[in-house]
Subunit: 323 residues, 2 copies
C-alpha cells in the first residue's frame, strides 16, 4: 500500500492562525484555525496548535503521515526557527523558539519563515515562478515585503532576515517618515498605505477634479483608487503611475544585485495590474543598466490570495522533507 | 604515490593575461603571461594560451595533474562560459565562448567569471571571508564591482551578470553622468575616478586651502588624496568622508537584500582604510534598518593585490573540480 504523505501549512497572523493539511499536489485537504490574539503565552498557543494538528492528522490517516510543518509568520526567522519581536503577535514579543516548541509537542519537523518568503516558495513550487532559479517576489500589501530566490534557493542571509526590500531607501532626502524609524523607504510609497498617501497628496495638489475627492480621507483604500482609475479618473490613474515609477526605479537597482529572470508582484496593490505595472516596467526599462534591459519579466502572482499563505508554507514544509 | 593536483588561475586583463599554476594550499608554483592586446583573434589567443598552460604543466608533473582552469575577465559570464562585449579586450568584442575553446585545446575543464566575483571566491577560500556564507565583496578600483555570496554560493543571476552593485543608482536626480549611459551610479562616486572627481569638486568649492590644489587636475590620483589625508589635509580627509557617506548609504540598502555577515572592500580606493571606512560604517549605522544594525562587519580585503586575481580564479577552478 502506498504511503500517504502530507504536510501542514500554518499561516500565522496577528489575528488568526490558519492550519492547512496539504498533499504533494498542493491540494488543501482540510483546515483548522485558532485565534492568535487570544493567547498571551506562546506555550499555551503551541499546546492548542498541537491539538489542531492532531485533529488534522486523522484526515491524513495518522500523525505519521504528516512529514513536516511549515509556518509563515511576521518576523519568522528561518535560520533560528524563531519568531522575534513580532509587534502584532500577542505572545511574540521576545524571541519565541516556535519550531522547537512545536516539534517537541508533535514530533514533526517544523520550519518557519515570513509571509513574503513563503509566497516566493509558493510561487516557485506551484505559481508564476515554476522552473525559475533567480527571481524576486515583491509583496505589495499593508507593507512591502520580498522573497529573493538565487540559484534556486531562498536567500535568508546571515541572520535569517535577508530580503527586506520594502525598507530599501528610495529617497535619502525628504522621504516620507517610515514606521521603521527612518525615511524614504520603498514601503512608504508602494504599500497600500503609501498609495493612499500619494492619492491624498495629489488631491491636495490637483484639487477636486477627481472622484476620489468625494471619499473621506480616512476611509480611502487602494481598491477605491483602482475603481476610480478603471472608471477613467485621471488623478487615480496618475496615482498608480507615480507609484509604478518609484517601483520601477527600485527594481532597476534590485536588478544590479540578482539580474533576476522575473519580478513577481503579489498582494492587494498588485491587483491594480497594468495601471501600476505598465509605468513600473517603462520606468524600469528607462533606468535599468543596459546589460539587463529587456531580460526580466514583470509578472503578477498566480497564487490565490486566500490560499497563498498556506500553500507557501506547505512549500516550505515540503522543502524541509527533501533535506 | 600521492597525486599532485593543481589548477591554473588566469587573470585576463585588457593589457596582460597572467597565468598562475596554483596548488591546493593556494600557493602559486609558477607563472606565465601573454600580452592580451597583441591578439586580434580569440582563436590565436587561445592557441598561445594553451601553449603557456602546456609549459606550466611541466612544473606540475604533467598536464593530467592540472584539474581545472579558472579565468577572471571583464564581462566574463560564468553561466555561459563566455566573454561578452568586452570593450577593453582587443579580441573580445562579440560573444567569445572562451571556456569551450580553451577546453578543446587543453582537454581541461574551464570556468570563467569577472574579477570582482573572482575576488569574492578568493576571499572565501583564503581571505577575509573564510567560513562566511553570506557576504558582499565590493571592489573599489578604476570602477566599482561586486561579488555577492549567499548561502555559501556566488550569485550569478539569470544571465550570469548578477552583482553589478557599482551601477546601483544612488542619485536618481542630478547624479554624475556614468560611462554606462545613465547617471548617479555608485561607481561615479566610489571608484578611483569618482574620488578624484569629488576632490576636484571640493577644491572648486573650498578654494586653495588644500595641498591638493598644487597637483595638476589631470594628474591627481586616489593615492595623492590618501597621502594628503594622512598628512593632515582637511579637504582630502573630507573627500574620503563624502565618499564613505555615499558608500555607507549604498551598503545600508544592500543589507536589505542579503543581510550579510560582512562587507569586504578590495582595491585601490579601499586602501584609504579608516579615512573611508569609518565614515562609511558610521553612515551605514545611521541609515541601516534597525533589524540589521550592529550585525555586518566592514572589513578590508586580506587578499594581496598582486596575487588576488590569480588566486581568486584558482578558487573558481577548485570549485569546478568539486562538482
Amino acid at each position: 500500500m502506498e504511503e500517504n504523505k502530507y504536510v501542514i501549512g500554518l499561516d500565522l497572523g496577528g489575528t488568526n492562525a490558519v492550519f492547512g493539511l496539504v498533499d504533494e499536489n498542493y491540494e488543501i485537504k482540510a483546515t483548522g484555525s485558532l485565534l492568535t490574539q487570544e493567547y498571551t503565552l506562546a506555550t499555551a498557543f503551541v499546546e492548542d496548535a498541537a491539538e489542531v494538528i492532531s485533529e488534522l492528522s486523522s484526515v491524513a490517516g495518522g500523525i505519521e503521515n504528516i512529514k513536516a510543518i511549515g509556518i509563515g509568520a511576521p518576523c519568522g526567522n528561518y535560520n533560528a526557527g524563531t519568531i522575534e519581536h513580532a509587534a502584532n503577535i500577542s505572545w511574540g514579543k521576545g524571541v519565541v523558539p516556535i519550531c522547537q516548541m512545536l516539534n517537541e509537542k508533535t514530533g514533526i519537523p517544523v520550519a518557519i519563515t515570513n509571509d513574503a518568503k513563503a509566497a516566493a516558495l509558493g510561487e516557485m513550487s506551484h505559481g508564476a515562478a515554476m522552473g525559475m532559479k533567480d527571481f524576486i517576489e515583491i509583496t505589495l500589501g499593508t507593507g512591502v515585503g520580498s522573497g529573493i530566490v538565487a540559484n534556486g534557493n531562498l536567500i535568508y542571509g546571515s541572520d535569517g532576515f535577508a530580503g527586506e526590500l520594502g525598507h530599501s531607501i528610495m529617497f535619502f532626502d525628504n522621504g516620507r517618515k517610515c514606521g521603521c524609524g527612518r525615511s524614504g523607504c520603498l514601503d512608504m510609497y508602494c504599500s497600500s498605505r503609501g498609495v493612499v498617501m500619494t492619492a491624498k497628496e495629489m488631491l491636495a495638489e490637483e484639487g477636486a477634479q477627481s472622484s476620489l475627492a468625494n471619499i473621506p480621507a480616512d476611509k480611502m483604500t487602494t481598491l477605491d483608487i483602482f475603481n476610480a482609475a478603471e472608471a477613467g479618473d485621471k488623478l487615480a490613474q496618475m496615482v498608480f503611475r507615480r507609484t509604478g515609477e518609484i517601483l520601477g526605479k527600485a527594481c532597476a537597482n534590485f536588478a544590479t544585485f540578482l539580474s533576476p529572470e522575473a519580478f513577481i508582484f503579489f498582494g492587494g496593490v498588485a491587483k491594480a495590474g497594468d495601471w501600476l505595472l505598465k509605468p513600473a516596467k517603462e520606468t524600469y526599462d528607462k533606468y535599468v543598466l543596459s546589460l539587463y534591459r529587456g531580460k526580466a519579466k514583470f509578472l503578477t502572482s498566480t497564487l490565490e490570495n486566500g490560499t497563498a499563505a498556506i500553500l507557501g508554507t506547505a512549500a516550505l514544509a515540503w522543502q524541509e522533507t527533501a533535506k
